[in-house]
Subunit: 315 residues, 6 copies
């Protein structure tokens, strides 16, 4: 059976989906409705459920698997599901949310294998031990969490996938610019977004945690590094630990984007630029996949609200 993102306009759909979001809203006519985001492994699609009763609002919560009958339409340039019918699953039907979540295009095992290989290239023993210590501490979350609530890599395993891709880019740059400190760059890449596992609530219905909002993932990794030093008996104000902390704190590149310090060592600047490239590519690929050739994508918030043109078949 077709997945929800594989449907063409006006194609009808009947099948199981996960409720990723279920916002209760009031229409201009004073009636309550549910603004759903449905999800299966192909991606997600919005749909509105009109005149929702209190009972229905409670029944169709985010995180539930449901059986949906509807039709794919277009609303303000975006795909939308017109809902004909919606019901909870029966006991014998599939109801594990895990089965319906969008996932990184690479398997966890492959990513884990790659990461393990890279660890051998982090030759500074302090950095190596800290990276291993923290990867081990948050192993479960690292391979499960998305890299963001929305925008880019917002799917199961997104954090590990983003990290893996950045390691590929990092290796290319190290090859082109051998003056780069490869150990430092790889350690920085692996740790830079690890704070997301504390900043976000998880992969299922991703929200910012309180500590995520009030402290933020940059400082959260930094704290983890200094505490790892305590645990591993490494002097936290030694030169190599200072530069490692700087790598993660500076990786947003600008104060305006939440880095408390701007990159002031070469590898920190490179880390920031690699992060930028992979985030841009993910957002672009995502937006372009929803757009016909010869048309413009929706405005992409993470790329200063630009909309991009998708050229017609130029080879």
């Amino acid at each position: 059976m077709k997945k929800i993102r594989d449907l063409v306009v006006d194609e009808e759909f009947q099948g199981f989906v996960l409720i990723k979001n279920a916002d209760v809203r009031v229409a201009k006519n004073g009636k309550t409705f549910l603004a759903f985001t449905f999800q299966d492994t192909s991606g997600s699609i919005d749909g509105k459920f009109w005149d929702a009763s209190n009972e229905e609002i409670q029944r169709f919560e985010a995180g539930r698997v449901v059986h949906l009958t509807g039709k794919r339409e277009v609303y303000q340039g975006n795909p939308q599901m017109k809902i004909y019918k919606l019901r909870l699953t029966n006991p014998e039907e599939p109801n594990d949310p895990q089965l319906f979540m969008e996932r990184a295009p690479i398997k966890r095992e492959a990513m884990e294998e790659e990461l393990n290989q890279v660890l051998f290239e982090i030759t500074n023993p302090h950095w190596n031990r800290i990276v291993r210590f923290l990867l081990n501490k948050y192993k479960q979350e690292f391979f499960e969490y998305p890299a963001a609530k929305k925008n880019h890599h917002a799917f199961v395993g997104g954090l590990a996938y983003h990290t893996t891709t950045m390691l590929h880019l990092g290796k290319s740059l190290v090859k082109e610019y051998p003056q780069l400190n490869a150990s430092l760059l790889y350690a920085g890449i692996i740790l830079h977004d690890l704070g997301k596992v504390i900043e976000l609530s998880g992969a299922l219905t991703t929200e910012y945690t309180t500590v995520g909002n009030l402290v933020g993932h940059l400082v959260l990794v930094d704290e983890e590094i200094t505490q790892a030093c305590l645990a591993l008996n490494i002097e936290q104000n030694s030169e190599d630990i200072i530069v490692l902390r700087h790598m993660v704190l500076a990786h947003h590149g600008q104060l305006d984007y939440g880095s408390p310090v701007r990159p002031r060592i070469r590898e920190a600047e490179v880390l920031h630029q690699i992060d930028n490239i992979d985030a841009s590519m993910q957002m672009l690929t995502n937006a372009i996949s929803k757009t016909e050739a010869g048309e413009y994508t929706e405005r992409i918030f993470g790329l200063e609200n630009r909309s991009f043109y998708v050229p017609r078949n130029v080879e």
Copy 2:
């Protein structure tokens, strides 16, 4: 005998001073000179030593006490010392730098006493224990360090003095706005700049440390708080510890000024505003003290480069 900042224009000076800074520069005519900042307890004054030999450059280092003969002049609107003669001190003459450093106008004992009183008003036991733990850990530095390299409170005990004054302002606000959480505000005030004792090198010839430049005092305190939690067996992601960390991380008020998060709890906003007021007052008072009535102060970097007018005798 008169101190260096008490001299009027064209008044001659003879006495002992501390070399606070000694920059080696090359004049446009190709000759080397020393750009000194001399200091005694009244403040500091610049002076140029022309045609310095290599031997003189080594002899008159920053941190040395010297005997100076000269005359107070004005250079580009600022006081300047014309140097007639300069020599190192003899063994029997005063040569302890401590005797010549500018100090907070309140004695350490008085500040310590005040601080101890305030500790009793921090009724949340976690905050209380963390503040005591860190004050104890950095007690020596807290009462010795300046609050900045230059700009404001750049004198011995400046950090403690800045903190004490802010506590006074904090108490006034708590009285006016009883809805404020006084414990949290006082804990935040005491800790907010404590990272300066790691960011800066000390009171004598104040420089930024490497970790100061690459991590910064906001994150440095935050790390100290989380490590204090480990030492004191306090859960670091409990609500009260999160808001305490937020207080120190957000106190610069804007991302552009180096806070990784903007204030998002009421007391964090207040802490930022109190900090602003005391810094402004210190800079203004300092600049105005060097300016005649009816004239404009030099431009004040920390106040967006404004110069201020000093009104004539309006009561």
Copy 3:
């Protein structure tokens, strides 16, 4: 009986309220409705009246007292009144708008008393006479007007209440920083927002006047001061009158916020900062009062659109 802001979600309401605003809008379905803001002394609440006839639009004008039957709901995170029934009051029922307006938490008499005390501390005779002259001229409005159309202190007596609170803060600062010119600061505080009585239309249905929009309250006070000089035979270009005018013109702190000059005397900078603090505290207190612990307030326009977190019971 409960006031409108004391109701909990889903609680029904029956009673008299004032129509503060009544905007005529057209729904997406082409029908006309009224977007009301109802008010009593506890505050205000929005409510929509669907399918309004022309007669109803004219009947339920802003400024009218009405009898409302409804239920408190939540709409997009804000309280909302679902309207069951709405009718004008009968002759024997309460219909004086004054009885339903939100008011400063301090009585006018108390504020007046305080202000009179402060006048004795303005020892410069020119400032003293000008302040008395203008307070006298606008006495009625000063104690009646709000300090703003919305945002902060938008209630009856808000202008006087804002001024009184700022005088408290001013006194604390004068005590902490005795180098401040207390007379000038107090005179500046009392006059700084007095132009609001010309800029705004009044307390009942507050709008900007034409002169408010095209000239603005900063310049309006300044004009009043120079005209008071004419009336009182004070030379308007004497030093003390210049600095007093500067106080009011500069109190927004930045050109971007509508001050034609930035603060360039010490007391003008302080006046700006005190104004900032009291406005922030009012907006924060207002927003937090509508928010549960553990939640975030709505975005606060006057605080750069931040939403604030309300910590759970941390003592």
Copy 4:
């Protein structure tokens, strides 16, 4: 004899000039020198007087006419006078500063005549009376003052000349866009910079006055208008007086440039644009007159620091 701005590079000069500015500075070698700006009716030129004694500093004050022997050179792309000899004038020699000041290229009588004609086109009686009243009050200064301390129209009669040229532009626009209120535009043009006669100290050695710095010429005209209303018994909050005040307050176009309100009536926007054009043209013409074809002018502060290219002989 040649004037100072007519000299070519390396041409020698001998004659009388006015000392427009005489700044006392200290060279890097510790010696005092005088940085002069000399002036005659052709314009001004800088020159340095090395190793000035105290007596010489007092002798060669700004405002003095002197006899200068020297040579025109180039210093950092700008004309400069190398001083061979400098002496005060003898009693029988010319010593009236007025004879050496740069002046508007149009005679005062011609400008006065033009202005009088325009007054008849201001048909609104309030505006007409106010303009006449204020022109009469400041008649002497209006035709004598420059329009700025430096930048543009910084010469005797510059204010009247700037005003006259703007009236020409205003008339062209009224002809092209007959929907404009000509009375209002002309009244606004005449008054817009009149506050300069209070903001600046005069034509000879132009400085900002205290009230100029702390209040500024926009508000100063506005005050004059409201006081003229008192004198002429015109209601100052009538619609026509409000828009006239708005014209002068808004003419800098942006809050950032010191207008307390942005233009919000059509004629205010036009006034701002005309002001811009004439100021730009004056700055450009001035800078280009000092630059060879095929070269770039010095950077022009008032045009966002751009330097302009002067095309070679393209017709």
Copy 5:
């Protein structure tokens, strides 16, 4: 019969109009509607067509002439047409879109005549030939196209009208400032927006073309100039061709507004300012024509979103 922009509120209308835009939208109640913009020679007005069927959506396309029965209302401060009935025209009824389009207030012949006169004043032969060549190449479009999609001069002949008006302003400035190179200024004015004929799709349903979005009209004219040089055998890197290209590339005045270079010759700065004035005047006149005296216009996007006040009858 009355035109659509001549109707007063609540006046009924029956007649032929052009569908300028027809956006398909979905209402909050899930039903599809058409958001029309109707047009006749008096201007345009919006109107909503509720519950549109697929057949109706296809029938009432942009570019069609229709017979409309309805009533002029007001929606959110703007005029709106309530649609009673809508049908296609019968064969014998008017159906040429050209008859219903808004047009420049000056006839094409008059503009053409004026332009021809100006061509004689472009005395530099290169500029003269290039301007003639390009005007000839795009003659049809130049007199047909609007000067923008919306904002200003968005009507048939808008480009030529904008150009003609700017030539008037240019001549006034040349008269006032004879140092300007009139040939260059006139050539620049005529060419500056000519790229619009490639950037936009035409006068009927104006859209940006792909090359308009991805290259933009400034560079498009520049390309045309260099290709005209090839055709006319003029050296494209001669001084006069360089400055002509600079004129068109710099005419937006700031990099932020899409000029790849800022104006760096005098005439380029003037061209930018004239362009500004005419665009502002068009937008203001347009907005004010829809606003009652004593009221504020809608916010004008092209004037930094300001709304303007329309003064009551001040003469």
Copy 6:
């Protein structure tokens, strides 16, 4: 013999160097001096020649090879040559400037070879032909010119070297993100800075040309592409030519940096990011090469004036 950039502090030097720049300046003491930049294949170093006579100024022009005796010193943190003696070369001594110019670290033949390989991967025939056509037209300059006047790649062959390195990065990205259009990306990389050969005057004493200043290298390449279309009989407004022009016009990424359009196709965004990375790496490597470990580099203009820390021996 040692090259000038291989000298340590205080090491004496005797040998042949090229005068890269020779600015005539006036010292504060009124005397003329020459501010030289000397160059050999190791890089460049500044040096001041005091009290230069007119004859010496003419003798020691930029572009001359000279024999220099001097000593390497440090001036304001940068290397400087103290000049003992300077003379022109004798006929039998080396005097070809080419021998002394800094060059790309890769030989021209190698870069040419690489480029030729890449041409085969540009499979779109239009792009392929245009790239070949323009490379052929500017072959000599492409391999000779620097990529900038200063900042990055300011050496012989810098343009080709910058292009080659970017092609490496481009290939890595194409491998990682196969959805990218490789042909378009490679064509864009090769052409993006080709306009520099018109914008700059050459490799020896690099200056901006007039057309460089007034048109700029982005538009200059764009013009070349459209003219190549004419020569090759390719329709310039076909989709593939439009996107190619967009690639070069948008590659500065932001309007503020001189792109008339922001990147709006995926490959244009990638081109901009690759350009950024290589420019950053070149500037960083250059600055770090002049800095000791444990110290900070000079401020780097092209990296928002940041100075970077060079970590001590962390592996």
